[in-house]
Subunit: 582 residues, 2 copies
């Protein structure tokens, strides 16, 4: 054994940024039973930028971390614990166990946070990695991510972007070139100090985002206006050492895409940043059935190093907001910091204008919390890894061969039409337990075929989005063409219905406010407050301290007239949305 | 600025494995002018497992590193250097500059290594990252990787595998659980010792491969025979701190897929390992036009932790071998080390049998060196990001509008037929410089349309794989249907022709040997030697020391009768292939 852990004990930490932080009395309860994800905090509370590109900076997070909404998660007794029980030694089949647990889903009304963790675990979307805050994305979760990739990648390419790949390890000195950027990211960096058995001369940062290394290359590639616009994207993993983590929503490592572009003019960069946030919005709405609100971030919530940040904000089932994608107009901040210059058409040397934009596996958390119900996931048909499950009802005494032949032909017909179908003809499972399992997995349509159906040459369909009899249709023809047409029609209907339902929920939970009291009441009732805002940075921080609500965005859609600021009383030019957020 | 580099100087290295290594007198020349990729070596030569899963272990690498074939690269004056010249300050357009450099390609016969680096740089496949041995994969290179991904991913899914994602950071203690595994990988690990501003209690390894973390999860997921087989794959980045690196072939960070499976029986695991190496072979042959030889690795060259390693070996244009994909039968080595057990159908607890298999961005280096010529890349049509480029010949005085209308309609016809076509109608470039550029990029077909062609309602096609007039066809009809049929036929022909050409080259450069002298002569002539082999590990090392040739594989295709071992004289049961390798 060449490696001995004891040899690691002498390693000294990079402590500069830690020292810059004032101590904070807020500590996690040492008795906290929570398992790996909602991890124990063994160190003084530190400022930390949070998930996503344009989340609040350190000083904001510090102000409210003691009262953070994520705190609730730390209180839980996660079901995960049960997996570590001696009972596990009974060596039940994992899948069998999973189905038995399906009914163990905590109701949302009882504990929304725990319901979320239950869904993630029981639907086998993700599991806990051995290093704190990391997750394993399991096949059902990864298939959803592949759907995000497929749709976004097509949209990026259709708008002229090309994929590339930049190295993950970035010299520490690169981050220091843009002052805001390093301030925003320093507290949450993972750092490689040793490689190939040697201490490195310069420590290497495991990328938390790639603006710096991208700009290091852009400075070499961009020489003339002819090299612009340069429109790149990369699919990659990034690391941010967060204090509080939750699967998909905030993990030490996550997967994402990050676009990086350079343009000759400020106008082009602004148009690009807007185009990309609109692509995110269209994806969220049309594909993920999430009626997000697109808008501009406040100055406080702008990405570290950007001039302007655009965002899409989604409303979760508990009324909290989730920032689901951001697009930044970086101006010339990075091109100046990295000395990127191009010769324009008049022969003048200029710094290009840049953008960056990202959407991550966090989106999967958004899909779970937008559509999920007490039976588990509900997946938008366009994204669902399994769109239709066919379950034969194999009663004793019935002509099982005829039923199995019928379901096989339905499966073949659906497959031939490009529908993602699964036939579950296992004999050892009851139809009822299969129903529960596929409801948990969020499969949009279930097809049942029993003895009487075969006699009548028809089948039964059940919609995931409408529980019970309301979502059932009997006498659906088995004739392949008619069956496929029916299924395709249903898939479209469900796609629309999920969006409509989420839109109605969103609209019912946004309150227009004209006073601070109204805002407080709305936020207390777990709603979003929308009202005229002309406050300054200090006012915004104060609202956050007092209500836990943050300024989510100035929505692109603005009323024709805007009244006085609900907080300062000054005339406002825009309304803003405030909400508690993940 | 929160970060100060000076604070990093106190960091102590993980030195255990370094101390285990005996000093080696081999050092790189300090005067070596080579830029970042073929980096300067400032430390004593250390043992190192090399690229790819089943490359030789440390002790092998030590034996020959002084005479490594990669050494040649260290001698070069890479053209890269020119980019750092003050001349660069002239601010030429990058693309313009690229075209001017296209003719600067070093002929293969003059310096094969330098030709390779020239192609990588001038065709904008990759650039050098700031950290030694890292590369930026540029859009043209990344598009090739996307083609690898697309074809392999489909083949994996068609054989029942699902994608997942495991965390990149692995506790150091995990690697120590499998003795061979840690011995193989320890010398080339990148290690995170600090995160979130704190020194970590246990150092984290940046994954060099994922067997250990995968098995940590498998031990939790696999409980019953019903959970088997478990067939997973992940697309990911990995890091191996190599001493000598070259773009695509051997880089500090590379992209790959790694499959990880678990089975109830040894037979199933063996069948899986064979199935996957055959999938790699079929991909290499049918998609990448690389006539690889599939076979079994010798014990010395087996992956660290595996029972058996299968490989596909490709012949490069200089006669060297490239291991282009490997598949390992891991037996129960990892399941025993990680305590993974399942209850079989008889109620008995057993360790599952496992496999792992990987193909990486190294494959792109293989494509370059299998097909490239002195004009640049030649890409297999199925993989080419641009399959057809259309170049209008816009002579003065000609009816330019008519020509532009004609090329636009050809472009539209090709696009509608699903052909990846590019129309290059730039006025500021001459047709000749465009021809050079697209030859450099490896575009399989060029279509030319000049004034006379428009008059005759026809066009000219030129094949990339047949230079000059031999590859040209005149009078190709412009009528859309006929044009598309012609192009589609040509693409198929080129796909076959590239494979045939490479196969003929391979077969002309494999020598059947029956004595050691014959092997030496073959290896000296940069050919592969194939002969009966019954030598032991010590014999194999000796052959490597004396000839630089390694045992590439025992090919699956064996002659009916095998004579005595060319080295030991003992009766052999198999022939093996020996060659110098990348």
């Amino acid at each position: 054994m060449l490696l001995e852990q004891s040899n690691l004990s002498g390693i000294r930490a990079v402590t500069a940024w830690r020292q810059a932080v004032s101590g904070c009395a807020h500590r996690a309860r040492p008795s906290c039973p929570t398992a790996r994800f909602v991890h124990q905090i063994r160190q003084p509370c530190q400022p930390s930028t949070s998930w996503g590109l344009s989340q609040p900076r350190c000083h904001l997070r510090t102000a409210t971390c003691a009262a953070s909404s994520l705190e609730a998660a730390t209180e839980q007794q996660p079901q995960q614990k049960a997996q570590k029980n001696p009972q596990r030694q009974q060596q039940k089949g994992g899948k069998q166990q999973q189905q038995q647990q399906a009914s163990q889903l905590t109701p949302r009304s009882q504990d929304y946070s725990r319901w979320y963790l239950d869904v993630v675990r029981l639907a086998e979307l993700a599991d806990y990695g051995p290093v704190r805050g990391t997750m394993v994305i399991r096949p059902h979760g990864y298939a959803l991510w592949e759907s995000v990739q497929q749709h976004l990648d097509a949209a990026f390419k259709a708008t002229g972007h090309q994929n590339a790949y930049f190295p993950q390890l970035i010299p520490m000195s690169f981050l220091e070139k843009e002052a805001d950027h390093v301030e925003g990211f320093a507290p949450e960096l993972a750092v490689v100090t040793t490689a190939g058995g040697k201490e490195l001369e310069e420590a290497l940062v495991v990328r938390p985002t790639s603006e710096t290394i991208v700009n290091h290359m852009f400075a070499q590639w961009i020489k003339s206006y002819r090299d612009l616009p340069l429109l790149l994207n990369q699919w990659a993993n990034v690391h941010r050492w967060e204090l509080r983590t939750r699967p998909f929503l905030r993990t030490t490592e996550f997967l994402w895409q990050e676009g990086h572009t350079a343009h000759a003019t400020a106008e082009e960069a602004e148009a690009e940043a807007l185009q990309m946030v609109n692509i995110y919005r269209d994806f969220a709405v049309s594909i993920a059935c999430m009626p997000v609100i697109a808008g501009r971030k406040s100055r406080l919530e702008t990405f570290a190093g950007a001039d302007v940040t655009y965002t899409i904000e989604a409303m979760m089932g508990d009324g909290k907001a989730l920032q689901a994608g951001t697009s930044h107009n970086l101006g010339q901040n990075f091109s100046k910091a990295f000395g990127t210059e191009f010769l324009d058409e008049t022969g003048e040397l200029r710094n290009p204008y840049q953008t960056s934009w990202g959407m991550s596996t966090r989106m999967l958390g958004g899909i779970i919390m937008t559509h999920g119900d007490d039976a588990g996931l509900r997946l938008p048909p366009i994204m669902a890894p399994i769109q239709v499950v066919i379950v034969p009802i194999l009663k004793k005494g019935a002509d099982q061969k005829a039923i199995l032949a019928a379901v096989s032909s339905l499966e073949a017909a659906a497959k031939a039409a490009g529908i993602r179908v699964k036939l579950d003809a296992r004999l050892e499972k009851s139809p009822g337990s299969k129903f529960n399992q596929y409801e948990l997995l969020g499969v949009p349509i279930r097809v049942e075929v029993g003895p009487r159906d075969v006699e009548q040459n028809s089948c039964v369909t059940a919609r995931r989005d409408r529980p019970g009899k309301a979502g059932k249709e009997f006498g659906v023809p088995m004739e392949p063409e008619a069956f496929v047409a029916h299924i395709q029609g249903l898939l479209k209907e469900i796609q629309s219905a999920l969006l409509e339902e989420a839109t109605a929920f969103r609209d019912a939970n946004i309150v227009d406010v004209s006073t601070y009291e109204e805002l407080k009441a709305a936020v207390d009732a777990n709603k979003w407050a929308r009202g005229p805002w002309a406050g300054g940075d200090a006012d915004e921080k104060k609202v956050k301290e007092e209500t836990q609500a943050t300024l989510r965005c100035y929505p692109f859609e603005q009323p024709e007239t805007v009244g006085p600021c609900f907080y300062s009383g000054q005339q406002a030019s825009e309304v803003a949305i405030f909400a508690k957020a993940y």
